[in-house]
Amino acid sequence: MGDRPNSSSRRNFLRSGLIAISTVSLAGEAPVVLGNPSTETAPHFFNEPERRFLSAAVDCLIPPDERWPGAAEADVVNYIDLQMVGQWGKGEQLYRHGPFRKGTPTQGYQLEYTPAELFRRSIAATNAHFSARGTSFEQLPPAEKDAYLSTLEKGGIDLDGVPSNTFFDFLLKHTMEGFFSDPIYGGNKNKISWKMIGFPGAYSDYYDLIDKHGVELHREPLSIGDGAASHFMNAIRQGH
C-alpha cells in the first residue's frame, strides 16, 4: 500500500492527488513538536553508548526489510530521546508518592523509577553485562541480539533494580509509540509506518467515503505538522 517516499515519477504525482505534499516536506521546514523541544536529531538525553544500544535494539523489535524501513530509520531512537526529557520521561505523568511496594501483576507499575531513570539503569546494566565480556549488544550477530532480547523479555534478570521483563516491555512500548505516532514527536519519520499500513493520518473527513465499502484509499498520510497549523495552534494556546 502506498509507495516509498522520494519516488519522483510523474505517475507517483498523479496517484496521490496531492501533488505538492507527496514528495516534498514543507519547504524544508522542520515539524514543530507541540510543547516539546525541536525534533532535530541532536541528542537530548541518551549518551552515545545508550544510543548505540537503543538503535540496535529497536531495529530488532521492528526490523528493516526489503520494502520498509525499521525502527532505527524511522527515528524511533530520536522519539524516545525526546520523550525522556519531556514530562513523561521525567515521571510527571505518574503518581509517584510512596511507599513503593512490589505488587501483583494486576496492580501494574510500582517501581519508584521515572521512565528516564528506568531506561538509564536498564541500559547501563545491559551495556555493563556486555562490556564485561569484551563486546557490546550492537556488535552481536542478529540472531544473538534477538535471543538476548527474548531473554530479557522472559524476565528473571535484574537490571540494577529493574526486572528485565519490565524493561523489555517499556522498550517495546516506546518503540511502538515512536514507530506509529505522529511525526511531530520526532519518530515515524516521513510517516513511514502510516504508509506501510495505509493509515491516512491526522486529517480525517470520511463522511463521503465510509459507506463506499471496500474502497482502497491511496493517499499520502498527513501529519499534524503538515499545515503549519501546529505553529498556529501552539501560538493560540500560549495566548499569543
Binding site: I62, W68, Y95, G103, T106, Q107, F180, M233
Partner: protein, 587 residues
Amino acid sequence: MPQTLKEVDVVVIGVGFAGSILAKELAASGLKVVGLERGHARHTVPDFQAPAIHDELKYSVRKGMMQDVTREAMTFRNHHQELALPMRQWEAFLPGTGLGGCGAHWNGQIWRYQIADFIYKSHVETRYGKKFLDPDLRIQDWGVTYQELEPYYDRFEYLCGACGKAGNLNGKIEQGGNPLEAPRSREYPNPPPKEQYAGALFRKAASDLGYHPFLQPSANMTRPYTNPEGLTLNPCVYCGFCERYGCEHFAKASPQTVILPVLRKYSNFELRTESQVLRINLDSSGKKATGVNYMDAQGREFEQPASLVLLTAFALNDVRMLLLSGIGQPYDPVTEKGAVGRNYAYQTQSYVPAFLKEDIHLNSFMAAGASGTVIDDFSVDNFDHTALGFIGGCYILCGSTNARPIEFHPTPPGTPRWGRQWKDAVRRHYNHTAIFNLSGTSSASRWNYLDLDPTYRDAWGLPLLRMTFEFPDNDLRMSKYVTSKASEIARQMGATIVVDEPRTGPFTTTAYQTTHNTGGAIIGTDPATSVVNRYCQTWDVPNVFVVGACNYPQNSSYNPTGTLGALIYWTADALKSRYLKNPGPLV
C-alpha cells in the same frame, strides 16, 4: 483559615453532563447556582480543533484529557485480604476531568437499559428461582422503573440528538431498529449512522444465523441538528478520533455542544473551574449539609455555603466525596453493614478479533465513536438462562471506533510480539481485521466495593479511593458463553482466523477495558443497602443529592450514559416539583 463566601442556593460538584444539566434546570428555576469544577475550562474552539486534537500519543496514550493521576490517583486490589497499591497511571479505566467531564470525550454510544434491569433481582428470582444466583452476588432492584424513567430517557436523547431507529414504538415492533429494546414513546430525533463495511458483513452473518442486527444508537450527529435548548450540532465526519478526544465539528453530543452555552447565559449561574472540592460540610447533627470547602488553583481554601448540594463528579469521585465527608456509613464486606461503597461493578468486556481475507478492505479508521452494527439477542436477560447456570449477557457489536495505529495493529494468535514476523503480520492484517466488542453485564458482588485507602493520599493530603474488585465467577461464565456465540458469527462472516477470547480473571488495571465504573452510592428502597432513594437523594443527608453511575445497583450490558441522562432529568424533576417546594426527605 478558609474564607467564607456568600451563601448560594445550590452548589454543583463537578460540571459534566449531570452537573451541567442539573445546574441549568435549577438556574432556569431562578435559583442561585455555583458549579465547581476541579479541572480546566475547555471549549470546542480552540481546544478540540483538528488536526491538533487528532494526536493519538497525547490523548490516547498519555491520556491528555483525563484526571491528573499525579495529584489524584486511586488504589486497587483484587481481593479484600490483599494490600491495595496505587494505580500510578490510568489504563483499565480513565476517569475524566475538566469542564464537560467524560461527556466531552465519550464515544457517544447512547443506550437505554431493559425493563428487567430496574427490577433485576425480582426479575431473576421470578424467572429462575431464588436459588439460581451464586451466593456472593448482591444484585438489587432500583426502586424506580423503566416506565417511570421513559419520558426522561426521551428528554436526554432529544437533548443529545440521538441517532437511531426505534425498534419498539409503544409496543409495536418496527423494522430497522432493535426489536428487543424496551418500548419507547417516539422515534429517535435523528436517523442512524452510516454503516461500516465490517458492520455490513456482520449484519449479513448475524441475520443468517437468525439474530436481529441493527445500527448502534449514536450521539454523533448524522445530520445538522438543533436541540430543544436551541443549540445546533453538525454532522459527524467519521474521523476515527472519538473516545478520549474532544470533537472539532460540534458533532458529538457533549455538555459543550448541547447545554453549556445555554447554562452560561444565566446570570444566576456561576462557573468556577480549577476548584477542587475537599469535602461537603455537615452541621452538628450530621444530617444537614451546610455547603462545601474547596481549594482554588492558587491553593486558597474557601467555604461555599449552600442550601442544596448536588454531587455530580463522576461515579468514583462521588463515592469518595461521600466517604471524605462522612455522609452515610462506609460499607464493610465482612459484616455487610454500611452502604457507601457497596455494589461496585464494572462492565464485563470481551473482544473477538476476526481476521479476514486480504481483498476485504475494511477501512476501520473511518469511524464514529458509536459506529457499529449490533445484536441484542444475548444481552441482559433477553435469552433463557435456565439451563446455562449464570445470569446476564452482552450485546455483540461489530465495527470500529478507530484504527489509530499505536493502539490498533492486530496480529493473529501465535504471532510474535516483535520482529520480522510481527511486522509482516501487521501489514497483512491492519486493514483486514474486524473486532467484535462484547459489552456485558457486571453483577454486584459482596466482595467488590469502594472505600478509602489507609495509606496513600492525594495532593491535598486526603485519602485516595480504594477499589477492591474481581470479576464474579458468574460474569466469567456468562462471558464464555456469549463470546462463543460471537465467534460463531465471526466464522459465518468468513473470517479466516477467529479468536474466541472471553473475559477471564483476574481483573487487571494494566489493560484498557472500559470506564463504565458503577455503584458505590446505589439507588434503592432500603437505607440499609442503598445510599440514595429513588430520587437520588441521600438517605442520610436530605439536602445532598448524588447523580451518577454510582447510583446503579449493578451494571447492565449497555453503556451507562443514556440511562444516566434519564436519571439526571428524573432527579431534576424531583428537585423542581417536589424538593424545592418542600425541602426534606422525599421518601
